[in-house]
Structure formats: structure tokens, C-alpha cells
């Protein structure tokens, strides 16, 4: 049996707006094995992005526990959490979120600046990541010189350059045309099958969901259905 990489136990999340408490996630329990490609689906406001943020360690649960690998991340300090994210998480945003004043190379290098790698080693890592996303020839290009699909592939290179434990993608094809979306989904699938990356992807898109090996459906903060892909 494959060991679970992600273990969520009774995770709840409540936001406070003025005096009103809004429950977003209610007692969510999930176990994701290493090497899985999990799709998170659900209508807007169902809590899927919140769940992804909790897994990324950029938000904290109101209750319950989140273990990723050997680390119980809900108890880590802000500083330890940042260091943990740098080492274990690769995050892919819907709007790519590349830094406009940095080239593709520099954007991909950004997470590596936090490591002790030498300049030469960083260059090797960056070029490897750009080769995987087939954009080595665009290393010197700025985001404004790239298409949406290319920008997202650079963002994926940035997410994988540190060889993270877990790849998290928040609607990675939400802002792309069908062709570019297909390329990005194929790339993610390759990262899962060829490079054995564990991926959790939030999506609205049924075509994107088809690529996942498992699907979870969230509705009003509750896990309502578990569908094998």
C-alpha cells in the first residue's frame, strides 16, 4: 500500500467578516497517497481554493490537523512555515503571477535564491526546469514577451525548479485558450507520470479534471462525493 503523503483530519476553516463567522470548510478529512494526481472540483465558494491554500501553508486551519510528509504544518511558526513552503511546495496560480521585471530565467530562479546553491548550480537547475516545460529558448524573455500558455509553463517551471514534494495548482488553465490549456494539462500529467510528482489541482473544467487520477468534490465546505477517475 502506498504511504499517504497528505493527511487532513477534521480540518475546519472559518473566516470572520466583522462580527460574522463564515464557515468555509467543515470537518474535511482527506488522505492523498504519494504520486497521486488529485483533482478538486466544486462550485465557486465551495472551499476548494481554501483547501489548496491550507495545503500550501499560506493559510491556517481554524481546527483539525494537516500533515504533509512528516510535518504537521498547522503548528509551524510563520518563519518555519515559509522555509517549509520553499522546500516542499510548488504553487501554480491561475493568473501565472510571474514577476514582470524579471526574465523567464530569473522568474524560475526566484525560489532557488533561498537555497544555498551556487550561481552555476542555480543556472543548471533553472535550465533543466525550462527544458522540461520546453521553454529553454525563451529564458531571456520577459513575461510581456510570452503568450499566456508560455507564461503558465514558465510558472510551472518555477514551481518545479526546487523539486518540491507537492505541486499545487489553482485553476491552472482557467485563463488559457483550449490549445494552451491542453498543453499545460499534458505537462502536468507528464510531471505526475514521468517525474512522479504528487499534484493537487483545483479546477472547474471537466476536461482538466479528466486528467486527474482521483477527484474530490466539495460543496459548501464539505466533501460530498469521491469519484475515481
Amino acid at each position: 500500500m502506498t504511504m499517504a503523503l497528505i493527511e487532513l483530519r477534521d480540518v475546519t476553516k472559518t473566516y470572520k467578516r466583522d462580527a460574522i463567522e463564515i464557515p468555509v470548510l467543515e470537518s474535511v478529512t482527506i488522505s492523498v497517497p504519494e504520486g497521486d494526481y488529485l483533482g478538486l472540483m466544486g462550485p465557486s465558494g465551495s472551499g476548494k481554493s481554501t483547501l489548496l491554500n491550507l495545503l500550501a501553508g499560506i493559510d491556517r486551519p481554524t481546527g483539525g490537523s494537516i500533515r504533509i510528509g512528516d510535518t504537521e504544518i498547522s503548528t509551524l511558526s510563520e518563519r518555519a512555515l515559509a522555509a517549509w513552503r520553499a522546500r516542499h511546495i510548488g504553487f501554480i496560480f491561475q493568473l501565472y503571477n510571474l514577476i514582470p521585471v524579471l526574465t523567464a530565467f530569473e522568474n524560475v530562479e526566484l525560489p532557488l535564491l533561498l537555497t544555498s546553491l551556487s550561481k552555476k548550480q542555480r543556472r543548471e537547475h533553472v535550465m533543466t526546469a525550462l527544458n522540461i516545460v520546453s521553454l529553454a529558448d525563451r529564458a531571456a524573455h520577459y513575461p510581456r514577451q510570452l503568450s499566456g500558455g508560455q507564461e503558465q509553463r514558465v510558472a510551472i517551471a518555477r514551481a518545479i525548479v526546487t523539486d518540491p514534494t507537492l505541486l499545487l495548482a489553482d485553476e491552472p488553465t482557467g485563463d488559457l485558450d483550449a490549445k494552451s490549456a491542453g498543453e499545460v494539462l499534458t505537462l502536468l500529467q507528464r510531471l505526475n507520470t514521468e517525474y512522479k510528482k504528487t499534484i493537487v489541482m483545483v479546477t472547474h473544467d471537466p476536461h482538466a479534471a479528466e486528467r486527474a487520477t482521483h477527484l474530490l468534490h466539495l460543496e459548501k465546505g464539505t466533501l460530498v462525493e469521491q469519484v475515481g477517475a
Binding site: A56, E78, A82, A83, R87, F91, L95, E106, K119, R158
Partner: protein, 383 residues
């Protein structure tokens, strides 16, 4: 060091805004350095004053004169080694805008007591022999293109010297041996002016050389007591105090120029701070993305604060360098009643340090805001 590249890249994000901020800091530092140079110029003469010279003026004001016979009375007092005198002439060379100091002096004793007026023996002798001769500082020579033997004419500026012009021959060109002496003045025989004065035998002030600087207060007191209850009561003080009172004729310069400098710096601080805050607001998403990638708060803080520091330092170095090059004794010292002044290396360093201070202060609040940003809230705002 590897993050320095990020700071530079970020500063170039909105080049126009960055340049405007850099220029505003540069102007502030330029003004600061220039104003400090003016103050230094006024203080330099006082600081370089001789401790063995004391100056006697009329107790009412230095613009009133006293009999030259006071000099002989002072010479006889214990502790006084030598005495000389001078008067303000206030003539006009061609045009009132060609302003420079002209002093009618008792030449032998004056040159004896002011060794800082450096003349060749030949020029000194030529000056002493010629009743209508004058000596001029090399600063004035540079300004007006004069040379030895030139004839110059001064129009009378103060009516007590009559209406006729005063012709002079340049017999010497002196160098200032210290800041106690201005190299942009003209000195000539007191007798020449006195001959035409409607109040002959009167002088502007006396300068006494004393044997022991420690006795200056007692000797000054003795001089003033000597002329108590006469029509020409006096006030005697050290040369340093006299030089300072000269500067104070313009008002409280320290306060005035200091206030202007502070106002400029504080205004620039707000400008730079606002620019940094705007820049951080525009980059909320980017900062959130960097935090998501694992950048800890303190690195975000230093990246933003570093950007403010970089802009300010570039502006500071630019402003201080320009001040050093442009504000020199030759560019500003000549045409006004101001001491020759230039921006010293010390003021350049202070200016650059000040710009660093502006940078740190301006970046402090935006950097704190950025480092405390809640990642999820920032990403939600961008979505």
C-alpha cells in the same frame, strides 16, 4: 548579495517614478550641502580667528566710528603689544553689483598684525610707499582679471568720503594664509580716505594684539573702561566674536538656513515615503507570490527597504557630487557680501548619510507593510 539584483530590478520597474524620486532626493541633498557650506563659510573665519587679537568697536554699533587717538590710548594699556585700525569704505567698482569689501587700513601696523595677509616683500614695500596704492586678494584678481600696476577707480559709496571718485593703483596681490583673512577684499591707506573724510581722524574699529590670550577678557574690559562716559564708548571682544557678529548682521543664519535645510529634507522624506508606499501597493500580488514561494518576512522587508535605500543613496550621491562640483568659492563667493565658501568633503559625506537616512525612514513603513502582508488576502484581492 544574490538579492541585490532583485532590488535593482524592482527599482527599474517604473523608471520615470524612480528617477523623479532620485532627483527629489538629489535636490534635497544638494540644497542641504550648499546651505551647510554657506554656514561653514561664515563660521570658518570665526574659527580661524587669532586668539591674540581683540577688536574694539563703538558700543552702540560697529557702523559708528571713533577717534584714531583711541589707538594710542589703547597701546599704552598693560598687556597690549600692538594696535592698528581699519574703516569700512563701501565704494563702488563700476557697478553696485560688483560688490566686495574695501577697507581703509593703517598699513604698516595692519600688515604687521595680520601675517595671514601674504605678500611678497617687494609688493609690500611698493604698497607702503604709494599713498594711493592698494592691495587686493587673489580671489578678486581672478574675478576681475586685474594685474599688478592696474589702475582702478572706486566711486564713493558712503557720503562722508565726499563725491569725488577714488583712483587706486594695484601694488600688491595677497594670498590668504588662513580663513581669518578673506582673499576677496581690497585694502588701502587709511590716510588716503581720511584726507577727504568730512569726519577726519575717525576710524571704524581698532585691533589690538595682546601678549597673553588668557588675559583677553580683562584687557577688553580695561579698554572699554578707559572710554566709559565719553562720547565714544567702546565694546571690545575677541576677533572670533567680532567675526561672528559680522555674520549675525544677516540675522540668525544658523536657525534660518538650518530650518530651510530641515524643511527640504522632511518634504523629500514624505515624497520618497509616498513613492515607496505606492510602489508596494502596486506590488501586493507579487509580494504575496514571493511569500508563497517561501520568501520569509524579513527578506521581503529588506528587499523593499533596500529599494528605498538604493533610490535615496543614488540621489544622495548625485546631489552631493553636484554640490561639490558646482558650489565652489569661485562660483558663489565673488558677487555678494558673503564669505567664499565651497562644499567640503565632510558635507558631502553628511549629505550622502542624510540620503541614506531618508531612504531608510521612507522605506520603513512600506517595508513593514509588505513583510506583514497576509498572503491569502493579497492573492484574493488580485483574483
Amino acid at each position: 548579495m544574490k538579492f541585490v539584483g532583485l532590488v535593482f530590478k524592482s527599482a527599474r520597474r517604473n523608471l520615470r517614478r524612480t528617477m523623479l524620486t532620485v532627483f527629489s532626493v538629489a535636490i534635497a541633498v544638494f540644497l542641504f550641502a550648499a546651505l551647510r557650506a554657506v554656514l561653514d563659510g561664515f563660521h570658518a573665519a570665526a574659527e580661524a580667528s587669532s586668539s591674540t587679537r581683540i577688536v574694539t568697536i563703538r558700543s552702540t554699533s560697529m557702523i559708528f566710528s571713533m577717534p584714531s587717538t583711541h589707538a594710542e590710548i589703547v597701546r599704552g594699556l598693560p598687556g597690549v603689544r600692538d594696535v592698528t585700525w581699519a574703516s569700512w569704505f563701501g565704494g563702488i567698482y563700476k557697478d553696485p553689483k560688483n560688490f566686495f569689501g574695501q577697507f581703509a587700513i593703517e598699513p604698516e601696523s595692519y600688515l604687521r598684525m595680520f601675517p595671514e595677509i601674504v605678500l611678497t616683500p617687494e609688493q609690500k614695500a611698493a604698497f607702503l610707499e604709494d599713498r594711493t596704492g592698494c592691495i587686493v586678494g587673489d580671489g578678486l584678481v581672478k574675478q576681475f582679471g586685474w594685474k599688478l600696476g592696474d589702475k582702478i577707480v572706486l566711486k564713493v559709496g558712503i557720503p562722508i568720503y565726499g563725491r569725488e571718485d577714488f583712483p587706486f593703483t594695484i601694488r600688491g596681490i595677497y594670498k590668504a594664509g588662513s580663513n581669518a583673512v578673506d582673499n576677496q577684499t581690497m585694502l588701502f591707506h587709511w590716510k588716503y580716505a581720511d584726507e577727504r573724510s568730512v569726519r577726519p581722524g575717525e576710524v571704524g574699529w581698532l585691533v589690538s594684539e595682546i601678549a597673553n590670550p588668557d588675559q583677553a577678557p580683562q584687557i577688553a574690559d580695561a579698554i572699554d573702561r578707559k572710554f566709559e562716559n565719553t562720547p565714544y564708548e567702546t565694546k571690545t571682544d575677541t576677533e572670533k566674536a567680532f567675526q561672528s557678529s559680522f555674520a549675525s548682521m544677516f540675522g540668525n543664519l544658523d536657525l534660518l538656513l538650518g530650518s530651510i535645510a530641515i524643511a527640504v529634507v522632511v518634504t523629500t522624506l514624505f515624497v520618497a515615503g509616498n513613492t515607496m508606499a505606492m510602489s508596494v501597493r502596486e506590488r501586493t500580488t507579487e509580494i504575496a507570490v514571493m511569500r508563497t514561494l517561501g520568501y520569509p518576512s524579513h527578506i521581503i522587508f529588506f528587499l523593499i527597504a533596500g529599494e528605498g535605500l538604493l533610490m535615496s543613496l543614488v540621489g544622495g550621491v548625485l546631489g552631493a557630487s553636484l554640490a561639490r562640483v558646482l558650489v565652489t568659492p569661485s562660483t558663489f563667493g565673488g558677487n555678494s557680501f558673503m564669505p567664499p565658501f565651497g562644499v567640503s568633503g565632510r558635507n558631502v559625506v553628511i549629505g550622502v548619510l542624510l540620503s541614506a537616512l531618508i531612504g531608510v525612514a521612507a522605506g520603513l513603513i512600506p517595508a513593514t507593510m509588505a513583510s506583514r502582508l497576509k498572503i491569502v488576502d493579497a492573492l484574493r484581492r488580485a483574483a
